[in-house]
């Protein structure tokens, strides 16, 4: 789709420095979220991932209150929230939803307070919008190295965890038999999730960051049953959604007479949602044409989790 877009790109897109920062940060968080997201989807932890986004909402708004950059709060409180959720038992299947929900509810309460204090104690407005829905074009370029560093840290964490994580995701009983320290793996994975959520909070806003985490991964998992391919595919879809979203938001400035550009996060989320919707029919089509290659989908069938209907379409 690269050359087709060339005439769509508004003049000045590449030379604008906020756009370049946005592309770097967006791309980085999209890849990290996609990689972590594949495991999140396979482990049936979408709700936990989403709860972390609300924890990081509270973190971001709290950091703003203290005068620190939102990224500090997004990531910092996200990691604390990961610890709390583990402590009160998100690992157990029964009651897991409940424990997650309570952490979520409490952190939303905190976010409500922090955002209220933000808007009353500081002269600047826009805190609510900035934290909740993101403002990728107003990120200072000095944040980019921090984002890249944290992104690399999350990827290294997933890389180190890769084998035990995969084993405990696909066959929990087998993992226990092989002596995988399940609890430790779970905790570190939740930390990786918190990092990914923190980064995508910066890109598309705290309460929307679930989209980058779950969407590309869910679409990729529907399309391929091989873990390596699904990681690559998810990263590709995430990157595409992010970069096209940034481009469309940049272009949307000229779409209406009042020159009010639409939020980046909307475009990214809408693209991800349409990828997910398209992945169902695409997977069915592929399954039909690839019928001869009868390959059991090992990563899809055995996803643990409270999903009422764990069979993916396709």
């Amino acid at each position: 789709m690269g050359f087709g877009l060339r005439w769509l790109i508004e003049p000045g897109f590449w030379s604008s420095s906020p756009v370049r920062v946005a592309l770097v940060i967006g791309g980085c968080s999209a890849v990290v979220s996609a990689v972590v997201g594949v495991f999140t989807v396979l482990r049936g932890q979408s709700f936990a991932g989403h709860a972390l986004t609300d924890v990081s909402t509270a973190g971001g708004s709290g950091a703003l209150l203290l005068g620190a950059g939102p990224i500090v709060g997004f990531v910092g409180l996200g990691i604390v929230g990961a610890g709390v959720m583990d402590a009160i038992g998100v690992r157990r299947l029964r009651g897991r939803d409940l424990a997650t929900g309570v952490v979520l509810g409490a952190s939303i309460g905190l976010a409500a307070l922090f955002l209220y204090l933000d808007s009353t104690s500081r002269a600047t407005t826009g805190a609510t919008q900035q934290i909740l829905f993101g403002s990728i074009f107003s990120i200072q370029s000095s944040t980019a190295p921090v984002v890249v560093g944290l992104g690399l840290a999350a990827l290294v964490l997933v890389g180190v965890l890769y084998r035990p994580l995969l084993l405990s995701t696909v066959g929990p009983e087998m993992a226990v038999a092989r002596g995988v320290p399940e609890r430790l793996v779970g905790v570190f994975f939740t930390v990786a999730m918190a990092l990914a959520v923190g980064l995508s909070s910066l890109t598309i806003g705290a309460i929307l960051s679930t989209a980058l985490l779950i969407g590309p991964a869910a679409a990729a998992v529907r399309l391929t049953s091989r873990i390596g391919w699904s990681l690559l595919l998810a990263s590709g879809l995430g990157l595409a959604a992010c970069w096209i979203g940034v481009l469309l938001a940049y272009d949307s400035y000229d779409w209406n007479a009042s020159h009010r550009s639409l939020p980046v996060s909307f475009f990214i989320v809408a693209l991800i949602f349409s990828f997910y919707l398209a992945s169902g029919p695409a997977a069915r089509l592929r399954a039909r044409s690839d019928g001869r290659r009868a390959q059991p989908p090992p990563t899809q069938v055995s996803a643990p989790g409270p999903a009422l209907n764990p069979s993916p379409g396709g």
Binding site: V41, G44, S46, F47, G49, H50, I88, R92, R94, G95, D97, L98, G101, V102, V103, L104, G105, A106, I108, G109, L110, A111, A112, L113, L115, Y116, S119, T125, G126, T128, Q129, L132, F133, I207, L208, T210, A211, I214, G215, A218, R222, R260, L262, P263, S265, F266, V269, A270, F273, Y276, G280, A303, G305, P306, A307, L308, N309, P310, P312, G313
Partner: protein
């Protein structure tokens, strides 16, 4: 102020009753997602100049049916997560188009109970009655399919239809509660009190009554505290809910060592 008390009482009753089934059916995630759909509806109504309650109700119903349908193929939790963020993003766009961005977002997400006017009471009461009626009508099949899935099916309960029916009840409950406690916080009200109630008793009717009672205490104290401190109601609702859940868990540990908090008689 009197309006706030009246409407908050209705909200607490509905949240206590519907929340019991949310906890029982482990439907916490849909219960979180549907209010966010309602947020988009309210935002759209804001832009188009329609009645916010109508927008809320329509969009909450849309979200409920969407989650039910999308979740039928594919993973339920993934479908819920994506429907949730899509609705939120749409809501953000609608609010971006309207003039009052920041205060509108804040009050829709986190609620504005002290700003309820008296002509908003009647539609909220109507929705509350509708909701209670639906729960009463579906009481037995809901309970049966929540506690014992196979038994319910054997008795002729249609799991998918019931699931959607429950999501619709959730949507109605949401529509009436969002203007009061906000899209994000209705969720804590639907989780904390019922979860605590279930820790104290295993009998469903008693648990429902207890859950309503805890929700009432939560909401009333939140309003009083928020009036006194001038801090947002939502903060107190969230914290009180979490505290009641923690109390319930501690009680379970203390009274029945070895039993888990999710044990159900």
């Amino acid at each position: 102020m009197a309006n706030a008390w009246t409407v908050a009482t209705m909200v607490a009753v509905i949240a206590g009753v519907v929340g019991f089934f949310v906890v029982l059916r482990a439907a916490a995630f849909p219960a979180h997602a549907i209010p966010n759909g309602a947020f988009a509806g309210a935002a759209a109504a804001n832009v188009l100049g329609l009645n916010p309650l109508a927008g809320l109700t329509a969009c909450a119903l849309l979200a409920a049916v969407g989650i039910g349908t999308l979740g039928r193929r594919g993973r339920h939790d993934v479908a819920t997560a994506l429907a949730l963020v899509m609705m939120l993003a749409a809501g953000a766009v609608f609010l971006g188009l309207s003039q009052e961005y920041e205060p509108a977002i804040y009050s829709l997400l986190f609620g504005e109970v002290l700003g309820v006017s008296s002509n908003e009471l009647l539609p909220v009461a109507g929705l509350a009655l509708l909701c209670l009626g639906a729960v009463a009508a579906l009481y037995r099949p809901l309970l049966l399919s929540s506690v014992a899935d196979q038994l319910g099916e054997a008795r002729g309960v249609q799991p998918y239809q019931l699931d959607v029916a429950f999501l619709v009840i959730l949507a109605l409950a949401t529509a009436m509660t969002v203007p009061v406690v906000g899209a994000l916080l209705i969720f804590s009200l639907m989780i904390g009190p019922p979860a605590a109630a279930r820790a104290f008793t295993g009998r469903p009717p008693v648990a429902i009554l207890l859950s309503v009672a805890i929700a009432l205490v939560t909401v009333w104290s939140a309003i009083a505290l928020s009036y006194l401190s001038n801090w947002p109601t939502g903060f107190f609702v969230g914290v009180t809910s979490a505290v009641s859940y923690a109390t319930g868990r501690a009680w379970t540990r203390w009274s029945r060592p070895g039993a888990r908090c999710s044990s159900m008689g």
